[in-house]
Symmetry: C2
Subunit: 123 residues, 2 copies
Amino acid sequence: MVQDSDAFAADLLRGHTDTIVLGVLRRGESYGFEIYKTIRDATGGAHEIKEATLYAAYRRLEKDGLVESFWGDETQGGRRKYYRITDAGRAVYQRNVAAWTATRDIIDSLLDPRGSGRAPERH
Amino acid sequence: MVQDSDAFAADLLRGHTDTIVLGVLRRGESYGFEIYKTIRDATGGAHEIKEATLYAAYRRLEKDGLVESFWGDETQGGRRKYYRITDAGRAVYQRNVAAWTATRDIIDSLLDPRGSGRAPERH
DNA sequence: GTCGAGTACTGTATCTGATCAAGTACTCGA
DNA sequence: TCGAGTACTTGATCAGATACAGTACTCGAC
């Protein structure tokens, strides 16, 4: 959809979800819902990455060996599945950040967003 | 796919295609293949937005009234379909650039790409 | 004079990540 | 005990991107 952009259009983050999750886990292990809240808070409460999207990403990342999971030993109460980034995950993360940086600069140059507080083409 | 990122992973630009096309047309009317070449050149030859993707975007944008098209009067040779951004298109473009800027900063803050040549968190 | 590369546009089928919608299950404070 | 919040899961569906294929014209090379 082209039109709406209340705060964010639907899937502007698409394709970056895995990298974002790796970016959160790079700082330390965490569990599913906490990662979700971290991202939600980072987006200023506009939490446009939905739970289902993230849980799908966790599975994808684990299948690819980029994160590993284990159940926390919450003796009482709600179970939590923790995730930890692997070495392979860190390597992919580095590459994906580079890809993001390049992509970001390309879009910036094509959109030329004046007044965005950032000067394009300065180096 | 998480893994590969030779130059760009598959659809990192996803969701931004329409905005990018509007960004090109904002500078002046153009025809389909020329827009394609403009974007391809901007990406340093790594043309990750495919022709079919763009032609699909043109149709979408026209359907939504954000661009209008007309056939060029190439008296000799290949027909060219020209596109011109409409007022509605400019309005949407402005909003989408704002959405892009916000999205970009969120991803930047989550990825914290040090050494990207850009200092996060400065305001 | 035709052959291939490049230009230029189109259509259809398929893939994949994101989302919707719903459900399960536990905790804790009112 | 009831509702809100925490925490995870699954299945169906959507839409944009891509693969693949095709049509048609131009122009330089051979």
